[in-house]
Symmetry: C2
Subunit: 140 residues, 2 copies
DNA sequence: TACTGATTTGTAATCATTATAATATTGTAA
DNA sequence: TTACAATATTATAATGATTACAAATCAGTA
């Protein structure tokens, strides 16, 4: 899997110290941090960074496909995930953690079984498909 | 499939005129309305209704399992769906519509094929699993 | 070194949602 | 029917994430 930094460098996008600090924090990160969590962490190394920079950098990384924005937290903040090997996301409604489930499965029922077999309890599944609808493809 | 109204009545919850107007609008509704869209529609019949009432009623209907809250719109508003037969949700990034895909399938790749076969183009899939994690089950 | 464009910063604005408190309505018991 | 308590509704204020914006800074190049 290509690193976030490698993807950014390949695109010829300038690696400012702020961006580098954010990328370093995200690289291999499995905690699914929110913008505020990224901001708090980077600020300790780089005290003058602004939250607006975190927003713009995360948007950039999403556009490059280097990270993924998750909207798993209902009515809450976005959180981010480096795009790595196929895995699923499980949100615990008690402790509010987003837990990676590393399975290479595509069938919802198989995935639920895999999550259950790790000792968790699945109560709900939301699957969202994104793209372009037939009307918009035609009226292009 | 049980109607929203039937579910509410079974629970012995009082059917105020405001709730009834909201339920009537949601019953069989396939447009996945947001709170504001529900509010605008109901207001035309019931001009004094408050948006706070729409919020509280939608929360009630969700708790009863009569409707489902979707967070398919990234960084956007919640939208709602009467709980009916199994189907999938497809968001068009151009026209911003949420389109129901009526399939009784559980395999992501099969679902994508079904959506494609209707002339749409799927670009991304987000599947979110919700429940209680093993740590929280144990430390109960 | 000077200049141009991109980036960062801090702040203000926006927008959905939640909280709150006053008012109105409902259901129930006398 | 009347009175009362519990519940629901309303309007408004508060919150919190995100976006917009303009000024200041920085990077790369002629």
């Amino acid at each position: 899997m290509k690193s976030i930094r490698a993807i950014v460098e390949e695109e010829g996008i300038s690696l400012t110290p702020q961006r580098l600090a954010i990328i370093d924090f995200m690289e291999g990160n499995r905690t699914h941090p929110t913008v505020d969590e990224i901001y708090q962490d980077v600020k300790s190394m780089y005290p003058t960074i602004s939250k607006a920079t975190v927003y713009s950098t995360m948007q950039l990384l999403c556009e490059l496909g280097a990270v993924q924005e998750l909207s798993i937290r209902k009515r809450g903040e976005a959180c981010f995930d480096p795009r790595e090997n196929k895995h699923q996301h499980f949100l615990c409604r008690k402790c509010n953690r987003v837990i990676d489930i590393s399975v290479d499965l595509y069938d919802e029922e198989d995935i639920i079984k895999a999550i259950d077999s790790r000792g968790h309890r699945v109560e709900d599944v939301h699957s969202y498909f994104y793209g372009v609808c037939s009307d918009c493809i035609q009226s292009k």
